[in-house]
Subunit: 698 residues, 2 copies
């Protein structure tokens, strides 16, 4: 039995097959559907296929059919050119790959490794998604009810309808190990963002870039917060200064991050990427024609979506918000009861009892958040957005709105209704710390334990099967010796193991967590300056646990290009604006309650702080507007590249015009309705020179 | 003596020369400079020239040398292609002209008129500006002190140094007459914006588009204002509603205008125009290298500009603002004095006297505005901005800031310091109406009279010269019979007449006037709902007088592409935001002063209105953010064009890849470090099919 490397040693040399992505069908997928899918993957592109290589094996754990998908170097390069993937050329400038000029790019000596593994996998996904139903594909074979329309992306449809169970790229164990050493094992060093981008793609690298940058940015308010904690806890004037510092800090941090993100995106070649989005697989509607592409596509009237939004989504979300407020009020009832009880009995037990409602409420917030997440997702599906980006943005808005209310309504209530600053301080501290602890457990400890349990189980199953290896080997050599030739046992095992891993659900939850944390830091900073300290400590570990999870617990995600953190930038900026209002109001309230300005009329005080608030708000807005979104170096470099491209284009045109001048003239006089011939330019020059002498003599 | 049409009738037919632009040197321009300039205009482009046609004549009024500049059709088309001028193709889609595919464009049957006159003139300007000093041009000949650096635009330098007196395109009398009939002679019809754009270019068409749109938009608040005037003048609740209506109206109007402007720009092909700006001719600094173009260019350190801005500009502007406030206080002193006097004597004379300070103050405001304009310009020159766009934006900021304070400080003072609503109403009405009357006189009556006076004088001078016609004719036939052959007497006379006309200074002042007017309408709308009525009446006449001036009084301006009203959009939006604050404050104040809510605490009232203000502000901002900047049709159309271009590019690439597959493979294996050959795709397909059957049997 040959190893799968055998092919390379024989002559003529054949490019060995490498599994790039793995496609798993559900256990009960009908044979017809599987065969149809494989045929589509193999078929010529002119026939609506993907021209990819695919080999099927059966998962020994659950009998699912697994496809190992790959492609030859030439196929990958061709697709990379069409996808306009950028690489550094020998001059160090990012340029879109063209095969004709491939020798002008760096690392083009070794074409098989010219594209990174992540790029190859991204290409495979792209090419798979581009497999579209032909006119004769009325439904998925084996599923009479799963209708198709011409031009629909088959893989997306099958994924959406759960015929394909999983589609994931394989990890590169060696690279991953090295990356992990540089990343989660070294707390002191900055994260290897560029390596993360190479391995996981831009979206994930951008998240970790943001997380790292935000964590670093927390240092100044954390240090100042510590100083205030030990020195000036009660001095309201200094706390007011701290509040102003904090909101200005938030503005600057967000603005500088925007620039930083553009810098990343520029370096990665995603800054000026134009991207056409296909409609979501789950998007439904009557068949119509897309006005942009001219292709058939479901069309769902906008008024229906608007109706669903206003008549279903908004009432349900409002009810959820009301419910959250209700829970908050119940919490307060218990809290006050407990405090009264404690005040009456004054024992250690009653003192502990006082903490119980806060603890329960913290847990309730986390539970409500996760229940609401499901509701929001269902509502978002129901709204039937056409594009994934619109879908994501609407989901972000829903989550941000609810989580904001759910997490902060109690603090607003304490601060502005009860006007109880000490209680605000203790509640904020308690909520922040408890939520961070719950978050850490939920996010890292649980998945890690699950992963350990699962891999133990799989190892045992593997051992059991190993004992039957003789019989297996016979079957192998009998039936699928060809597959074992091509795909090594290790790779097959790797695919099975990674198939059992959890799917990385994207960065949405991580951003949301940071968003809430950012709220705790900036909204009431004058009441609890230590928030930044806790946030900093949490994030230092968050980076490590998030990265550990990504490397060890999850299936490898597909690389996704991005140029920014998208809607989150706006969400964070909005939080900054709200923080200006809350902080100003808080300072005014403290002044008022402490009676520090007794000779002031309350109305004057309010006016003073309205003025202050408008001033700070204007300041932060002007600051945001004054700092350009793109750093100067990036702007210059982009302009330089654009200028050179234009210059080259211009030279080419002028050259063409110059060499074909005679032709051009003839064309001009032929095309012209009133036939004219032009005086040769040389003539007019002589003419002009004589003219000029004549004029001077006038 | 042949007429200038003679050339066409003789054979071989020669394209007749048409004067497109006129370049006037100053009277004392040295001969060397003129000859040098003419030689540059005629010279081949490879030799740093412009390859244009130029004929010089002498102005019979002031003995200035005038160049008539034109170019052949082929030269113009070549330049148009390089300038990426867009035209409709036969499918009705705007596309950049290419000479190779010119037959695919509409109206390509008559190539001599394929480009409009305005486009041709714009091309001439562009080509003239592209004449750059060569390495051997150390200074302007005849001016040892006018230094040049290699690559500097000569025409701009000479214009800036007043060696070239004027450079203007000629009017097209027939087209202009027809345009005028459609435009300023018909009050009832909408303006012919597309014709204006064809004749005057995008920047001017955009201004009139804005003016027309704004005037129409004034109708709803004007009608409502009239209704309030007759019905609900004193009802503060209804006035509060009116104020809210007005600020929401302002937001919607500005947002809808933004969309409208994009629609115009899309139709005109300027929406997605990328433009490289050269540095201003007046920009100075030590010679260095431009990082984008790599060309030599003056470099002025940013810190110097910042220093000048903070140490000179800001103190001077602040002084101006303080002065304006001082004048306002003096006005008040006189006003109160006059009122006291009137209260004492109660005669008709004293009643008239009461009006005098307001009248004087209105005039003072106009005078201060115009003096400040000069100061602002000087400061802006002094700041030495590199790009014209930066220069313009900084000038706009300066003007907007001062004019805002100068015009409105008195109203703020009355409203919020004196808290005298009836006086606010009367002052606002008086200021608005007086300023509009002054504006109309200053802007249209005066220039019109000047124009009449001048053209009378010129007609008389002409008559005098006509009487000496015989002698003239002799000189003509003797010395410059060639010129009279080429440029008809009418054109020469037209050039002289238009040379005497005033230069159109751009749209800055017009926008500024509208900006101030917009402020009068929205800032204190609850105090004086009639403002919109006066503004509407003013603008209906403003459109006609502005257009009349442009057609009759001014030299034809060069066509300038633009995609929006630029910084003015932001200025108007800021005014909208300030209006939210002032209106809320005003309503709160009225409520307070009238004691309508006696049971309310003042602090509560203030809080209520702060809440209201934040709500309205949030509402307007959300409204602005929710409405997309581009209308759906434009977005779809742009996406469609982009998609088709990509599709074409993709097909081309695939075709190339497909036909050159064998070559490609060879290239891939040759370039690859480890030589490999790929399995033919057909094989892998067969392979896959067999595989799949084998798998099903496992």
């Amino acid at each position: 039995m040959n190893s799968h490397h055998g092919g390379r040693e024989s002559s003529p040399p054949v490019e060995p097959f490498h599994t790039l992505c793995v496609l798993e069908f559900v256990t009960d997928a009908p044979q017809a559907a599987i065969e149809w899918m494989i045929a589509k993957i193999h078929a010529q592109r002119t026939a609506g296929g993907a021209e990819l290589q695919a080999y099927s094996v059966v998962n020994r754990h659950n009998q699912e059919v697994i496809l190992h998908i790959g492609a030859g170097t030439d196929r990958l390069l061709e697709a990379a050119e069409l996808m306009q993937i950028k690489k550094e050329d020998s001059a160090g400038v990012l340029r879109e790959i063209t095969i004709a000029e491939i020798s002008q790019f760096k690392k083009s000596g070794d074409l098989a490794n010219f594209l990174t593994l992540a790029e190859k996998q991204q290409i495979i996904l792209h090419e798979l998604e581009k497999i579209r139903a032909s006119d004769s594909d009325k439904h998925v074979p084996g599923y009479l009810k799963k209708k198709l329309y011409p031009g629909q992306s088959i893989v997306r449809k099958l994924l959406n309808d759960a015929v394909i169970h999983k589609l994931y790229p394989l990890h590169d164990r060696d690279v991953l190990k090295r990356l992990g050493e540089e990343w989660y094992n070294k707390v002191s060093k900055p994260q290897p963002i560029d390596d993360i981008r190479t391995y996981f793609g831009e979206t994930i690298a951008m998240y970790f870039g943001f997380l790292g940058f935000y964590t670093m940015a927390l240092i100044p308010p954390a240090i100042l917060g510590l100083m205030y904690y030990f020195v000036a806890w009660q001095d309201i004037n200094r706390l007011a200064l701290f509040a102003v510092f904090n909101v200005v800090w938030a503005t600057i941090f967000l603005q500088v991050w925007k620039r930083k993100a553009s810098e990343f995106a520029f370096k990665w070649g995603t800054l000026d990427r134009v991207h056409f989005e296909d409609c979501r697989a789950a998007y439904f509607g009557k068949m119509g024609i897309n006005k942009v592409t001219g292709r058939p596509e479901p069309v769902y009237p906008k008024w229906k979506r608007v109706l669903r939004f206003y008549c279903i989504t908004i009432p349900i979300i409002l009810s959820c918000l009301l419910f959250a407020v209700g829970v908050m009020l119940v919490y307060f009832w218990f809290q006050i009861e407990a405090e009264v009880y404690h005040a009456e009995w004054q024992t250690l037990w009653t003192k502990a009892l006082v903490l119980v409602p806060s603890l329960l409420y913290s847990v309730a917030i986390v539970v409500m958040n996760s229940i609401y997440r499901k509701i929001a997702k269902a509502l978002n599906d129901f709204e039937n957005h056409r594009l994934q980006s619109a879908y994501d943005n609407h989901l972000i808005i829903k989550l941000v709105l609810f989580d904001f209310v759910n997490c902060f309504v109690v603090l607003f209530y304490i601060a502005f209704y009860m006007q109880d600053i000490p209680r605000l301080r203790s509640s904020l501290a308690l909520l922040l710390i408890i939520q961070q602890v719950i978050g850490q457990i939920q996010e890292s400890l649980l998945p890690y334990l699950m992963f350990r349990y699962k891999s133990n189980k799989m190892d045992k199953a593997e051992e059991r099967r190993e004992s039957l290896v003789d019989k297996d080997a016979k079957v192998d050599s009998d039936e699928s010796s060809h597959v074992t030739d091509i795909i090594s046992k290790e790779v097959r095992k790797q695919a099975e193991v990674e198939g059992e891993m959890e799917t990385y659900e994207g960065t949405m939850d991580d951003y949301l967590e940071m968003f809430i944390q950012f709220g705790y830091v900036v909204l009431f900073s004058s009441a609890y300056p230590l928030a930044a300290v806790w946030a900093f400590i949490n994030n230092v570990t968050e980076i490590r646990t998030d990265s550990f999870k990504l490397c060890k617990v999850f299936q490898r995600p597909f690389s996704q290009p991005t140029a920014s953190i998208g809607a989150w930038q706006i969400a964070f900026q909005l939080m900054g604006i709200i923080a200006v209002m809350t902080n100003c109001a808080l300072v005014a309230l403290s002044l008022h309650n402490q009676g520090l300005l007794p000779k002031w009329d309350t109305a004057d005080l309010v006016l003073l702080f309205v003025g202050g608030e408008h001033l700070v708000l204007a300041l932060t807005q002007v600051l945001g507007a004054m700092v350009p979104d793109l750093p100067r170096t990036v702007r210059t470099e982009m302009a330089r590249i654009e200028f050179q491209a234009r210059q080259a284009w211009r030279n080419e045109r002028s050259q063409a015009a110059r060499t074909h001048r005679v032709k051009l003239r003839r064309a001009v006089s032929l095309l012209n309705a009133t036939p004219i011939s032009m005086p040769p330019l040389a003539d007019s020059k002589v003419d002009g020179t004589t003219m000029q002498h004549r004029t001077t003599n006038v």
